[in-house]
């Protein structure tokens, strides 16, 4: 990047700047013509100069031009027009000039704007491109929010400045010089006075502004730090609450804001002081004219006409001068910003762009070995963690790296994964240093997984396939309008120095999927197998079962869910396990469901709390009355209330039982207590139900006989509820009916989760192991039906949130590993990828992964840094590091027999 912004702008927009300068020069012609025209109109047709005679005519558009040196004159006689005609013609010319001037202005402004936006795009892209090329060590010390604030906000003014960068000084400088020249022409000495004052302005004001610039720099840095701090607060919210340090953070933010305020206030003071001085200097010049000029006139050395002409000419000087000084201010301002940004992005050791060059297919070096040749590594503090280690890993080998003391194994894995660069020595793939090989080779041939994982906002699937998106492999076909739009995009990208790779193209390269040979199904297979290997399949299924889908968006899947529901029911009937689930049946009372569910025979979008739209509507209670259940429900609710008051009445309000075993709170209980104590409730008019009765009905609606065991739900009442379903539903007005989605054994319920849709009923309590049995049975049925894959697909669409935060930490670790397994590589480097997992799960996953990679036909090598050293028996070779050097090396069995240290570690 260039040292100054002006140079950067010139470098990238040279032809455009010259062009716009020419256009501006051209636009001057009609501009000055328009100045002269009003005078002509007033003097000519209106005041009658040249039209002294009524029939006099003037030649309109007469011109004659003499080319100097060759003395050739050509001209045009013009049209003879009378006074009125001339007025109309000249006025029309005036209008024309107004239009032409406007058009020029419009064109110049859009051109400048476009120029600025392109440059902004270029510079922003260049900055992000540099971030992508930062060396690993530098990347560690970055604050994302600060970088973001630089890329987003701090470069913003560059765009606005670009258009004016050269045009403005040329234009204004010309104007100012012309004015000055004119003054000098009128009177040399007065001209010199003016020139002297201008010189003072031009020299002093920028000097004073130096402090402004320094303050501007401080303001920028503090504002950027504030952005970084705010980001930290957001990211560390959990930690802040955990340690009760919120007030410390408040103090920190407040003091930063105070600092920003101080700087800004200082800035204002200076800014207006400079402005004051500037204005003062501009006004002093006329003062000198009046005084000196007047003195000279009085003495008779200067005539009055000259003085007036000088003063008149001076009017045109301060305007452009002021603007010129403003331009300089803007220039310095953006220059400071540019230097700031430039410092942050000008990093030594930037990765060579050739290493990142796009390559659709990577040249596949067959059976190359991975060598570490006398590698030393330093950690961030500069301490040596690996000391001249030489090792070799062949294809097909599985190697466990373990640490006795120090962290040599981990650091070595980082070096293999290219996240740490050796301070001496080199790591070679075949014959070449991996730091010199393009990433299209190293990034595909070596898969590195560490404890740290980052996930991008998107679905589970997007993240799983992330490692396959090396280059656009499948072109997106554009047609018609889209095509034009795309061509425009490409053209613009080129003009702004951006790449024009198509983000809409298919980036997932099936040929790099772990299993098979590049067909789309192979990818699916690899994905499922990888999920299985890291034991994430159940989690994904669980995510799917919890989710709700919109059946209109995916009618086939919804149909499959219903199919699965029916197959499960059929299977339960066949095996005599039908009592496992009490299904929702149109003509049966579901004993495990609430009275409300049985009456509505459907799911509601919102839970049935007292402020639910359904329960707060008078229509609901009217409908109950219509079907003849109102009285029974009130009585039943009264009994439930009496029992609940008896059971919970004596408990203190903060007793945990309230939340654990009922949806009621202590206040609810005392409310019901007071309702029960009231005698002879006055009947409301219009046969409406009293609030008390409504409250009792709400209790009834929640009643489940096997849960409450009060024996109040008689079989007559059950029959009546079932019998009233249809009538009750039709009695409800349409807007309430919309709140209920009715159960239909053949239809998907959109407000319920997938699990509820599949089970479509309530688990019965007649079998204590019911949940486990049902789960096993459902798993078998769904596998037979092929539904499991569909379900998995639904789970893969789960949105994992920013940074994968909607997953548990363990799920994230597993996903991190699965993401690497899906892609086919020759070397897999696993750097303690599974911290925090239980020991036996860890062992199972290590076994699974080794088996999974073993079946891959390209015979990959596995390098695994183990935290649990006993697992090293699963590997062909064990390399034990001690204080950054290799202590022992060999097979597990040999090491166990020969090395005392190893034996002690394993035990």
């Amino acid at each position: 990047m260039q040292k100054t912004l002006l140079r950067y702008i010139w470098e990238h927009t040279k032809p455009q700047q010259v062009f716009i300068l020419l256009i501006v020069a051209l636009s001057m012609i009609p501009y000055f013509l328009a100045f002269d025209l009003p005078k002509q109109i007033i003097n000519g047709p209106i005041q009658g100069q040249g039209f002294e005679d009524l029939s006099a005519t003037q030649n309109f558009m007469a011109l004659s031009l003499t080319i100097p040196f060759i003395d050739y004159t050509f001209g045009f006689g013009g049209f003879p027009l009378d006074r009125m005609q001339t007025l109309v013609a000249l006025s029309c010319v005036f209008l024309l000039l107004v239009i032409i001037n406007g058009a020029f202005k419009y064109y110049i402004n859009t051109y400048k704007g476009r120029l600025g936006e392109r440059l902004l795009r270029r510079i922003r892209f260049e900055l992000v491109d540099r971030v992508l090329r930062f060396p690993p060590r530098h990347a560690k010390s970055l604050n994302g929010a600060e970088i973001a604030s630089m890329v987003k906000d701090e470069v913003e003014p560059f765009g606005g400045f670009t258009g004016d960068a050269f045009v403005q000084p040329a234009l204004l400088g010309g104007q100012a010089l012309a004015a000055l020249f004119f003054i000098i022409l009128q009177n040399f000495w007065l001209g010199m006075v003016a020139a002297f004052m201008v010189a003072i302005q031009v020299i002093i004001i920028p000097k004073m502004r130096r402090r402004l610039i320094e303050l501007g720099r401080q303001r920028q840095i503090t504002a950027r730090r504030l952005a970084g701090k705010v980001n930290e607060v957001v990211e560390g919210l959990g930690t802040i609450h955990a340690y009760d340090t919120s007030n410390f953070e408040r103090a920190d933010v407040a003091s930063r804001l105070g600092e920003i305020y101080r700087i800004r206030y200082d800035l204002y003071q200076w800014k207006f002081l400079v402005k004051f001085l500037n204005n003062f200097l501009s006004q002093v010049t006329p003062f000198l004219f009046y005084l000196i000029g007047g003195y000279l006139t009085l003495r008779g050395t200067l005539d009055v006409g000259q003085l007036v002409a000088v003063i008149n000419a001076y009017k045109d000087l301060p305007g452009p001068l002021k603007e010129l000084i403003d331009w300089d201010q803007a220039r310095q301002d953006v220059q400071v910003k540019y230097e700031q940004v430039f410092e942050n992005f000008e990093v030594e050791d930037l990765i060579n762009p050739a290493i990142h060059a796009l390559a659709a297919v990577s040249a596949q070096p067959k059976s190359e070995t991975l060598h570490a040749v006398s590698v030393s590594l330093n950690d961030d503090s500069g301490a040596k963690v690996v000391d001249h280690v030489t090792m070799k890993i062949d294809r097909g080998e599985t190697v466990a790296l373990v640490d006795h003391t120090g962290r040599g194994a981990e650091a070595m894995a980082e070096a293999f994964g290219r996240v740490a660069w050796p301070s001496s020595g080199r790591i070679c793939l075949g014959e070449q240093d991996i730091r010199e090989l393009p990433e299209s080779i190293t990034g595909r041939h070596i898969s590195y997984v560490s404890t740290e994982s980052y996930f991008f906002h998107g679905s589970l699937k997007d993240n799983l396939l992330y490692g396959l998106k090396h280059s656009p492999v499948k072109k997106y076909t554009y047609e018609g309008k889209e095509m034009r739009q795309r061509l425009w995009e490409i053209r613009e990208a080129k003009k702004a120095g951006n790449p024009h790779l198509d983000i809409r193209a298919g980036w997932v390269d099936y040929s790099y999927a772990a299993l098979g040979n590049g067909a789309k199904e192979d990818l699916q297979k690899s994905l499922l197998a990888a999920l299985d290997a890291v034991q994430l399949t159940d989690d994904v299924l669980e995510l799917a079962l919890h989710s709700t889908i919109n059946p209109e968006e995916d009618p086939t899947f919804a149909a499959q869910v219903v199919e699965m529901r029916q197959a499960l029911r059929t299977r339960m009937n066949e095996l005599g396990m039908e009592s496992l689930v009490i299904p929702f049946e149109p003509n049966g009372y579901n004993a495990q469901a609430t009275v409300a569910e049985n009456l509505l025979f459907g799911a509601t979008l919102a839970p049935l709390t007292p402020d639910n739209e359904l329960l707060s509507s008078e229509h609901f209670y009217n409908a109950l009355n219509k079907v003849g259940l109102q009285r029974a429900f009130v009585d039943m609710g009264r009994t439930v209330a009496r029992n609940l008051v008896e059971i919970f009445g004596g408990l203190p309000a903060d007793h945990p039982f309230f939340r654990q075993i009922t949806s009621l709170s202590a206040e609810d209980i005392s409310y019901y207590q007071s309702l029960l104590q009231r005698k002879n409730e006055p009947k409301p008019v219009n046969f409406r139900l009293s609030d008390a009765d409504k409250a009792f009905i709400r209790l009834t609606l929640e009643y489940i006989e096997p849960r409450y065991r009060l024996g109040i739900l008689t079989s007559e009442l059950k029959d009546k509820i079932v019998g009233s379903r249809e009538l009750f539903y039709t009695e409800l007005p349409a807007h309430l009916r919309e709140l209920i989605e009715r159960y239909d054994p053949d239809k998907y319920v959109s407000v319920a989760s997938l699990r509820e849709n599949i089970v479509f009923g309530k688990l019965s309590n007649s079998n204590a192991d019911g949940v486990v049995e049902l789960r096993t049975l459902a798993a078998t049925v769904s596998r037979e039906l092929g539904f499991a894959d569909q379900l998995l697909k639904a789970g893969l669409d789960y949105d994992i949130g920013a940074g994968g935060r909607r997953l548990t930490p363990i799920q994230r670790r597993k996903l991190n590993l699965a993401r690497a397994l899906i892609r086919r590589s020759d070397y897999y480097v696993f750097n303690k990828p599974l911290p925090g997992l239980e020991k036996h799960t860890q062992e199972e996953i290590v076994q699974n992964v080794l088996a999974f990679l073993g079946q891959q036909e390209n015979d990959p090598a596995v390098i695994w840094v183990l935290s649990n050293i006993s697992l090293s028996r699963l590997f062909d070779k064990v390399v034990m590091f001690d204080a950054g050097a290799i202590l022992e090396e060999g097979s597990y069995e040999t090491l166990e027999q020969e090395s005392g240290t190893f034996k002690a570690l394993v035990a």
């Binding site: 059971i647 039982f657 654990q660 079998n767 204590a768």
Partner: protein
């Protein structure tokens, strides 16, 4: 069986003899009713337990793992409580309990029981006494077995 019947049955246990009816009702209400089919396990030896079962109907077998497999050591019928030791100390289950026929039980959660014990000081004493009685029985049986072995 209704809630009030369960309360009547619970009251017959020496543990709960002195507990208020409404507290007992609260315990019964907080407890889940579960049904086991013949052969299903209430819990397995070695598992950690957080609940006891009050048998409402049916019979359960107590099984202990030996070198020759699980051996039935005793059985218990309706109106008895099983798994209560695990409630008081956080150890693993000392034996497997399996339903001999269809068993209806009330699953009493440890946390809920403790809560109720907090509110009824007399209950802790009753419980201690019932356990001491059990300990006395067990140790006398153990003595008998040892005497037999020596003889």
């Amino acid at each position: 069986m209704l809630l009030c019947d369960e309360v009547q049955l619970l009251r017959k246990l020496p543990y709960f003899a002195e507990v208020d009816t409404c507290k007992l009702k609260l315990l019964a209400f907080a407890s889940e009713r579960v049904t086991f089919k013949a052969g299903q396990r209430l819990f397995t030896q070695g598992d950690s337990g957080d609940s006891a079962y009050f048998i409402l109907s049916g019979t359960v077998d107590f099984l202990v793992n030996t070198a020759d497999g699980a051996v039935k050591v005793s059985e218990r019928g309706a109106n008895s409580i099983v798994g209560d030791i695990s409630l008081l100390c956080d150890g693993p289950r000392s034996s497997t309990v399996q339903a001999a026929d269809v068993v209806e039980a009330l699953k009493i959660n440890k946390d809920y029981l403790f809560r109720i014990m907090d509110d009824c000081p007399g209950m802790t004493m009753k419980m201690t006494r019932a356990l001491a009685e059990r300990l006395r029985l067990t140790s006398s049986e153990l003595d008998k077995v040892r005497a037999l072995q020596k003889a």
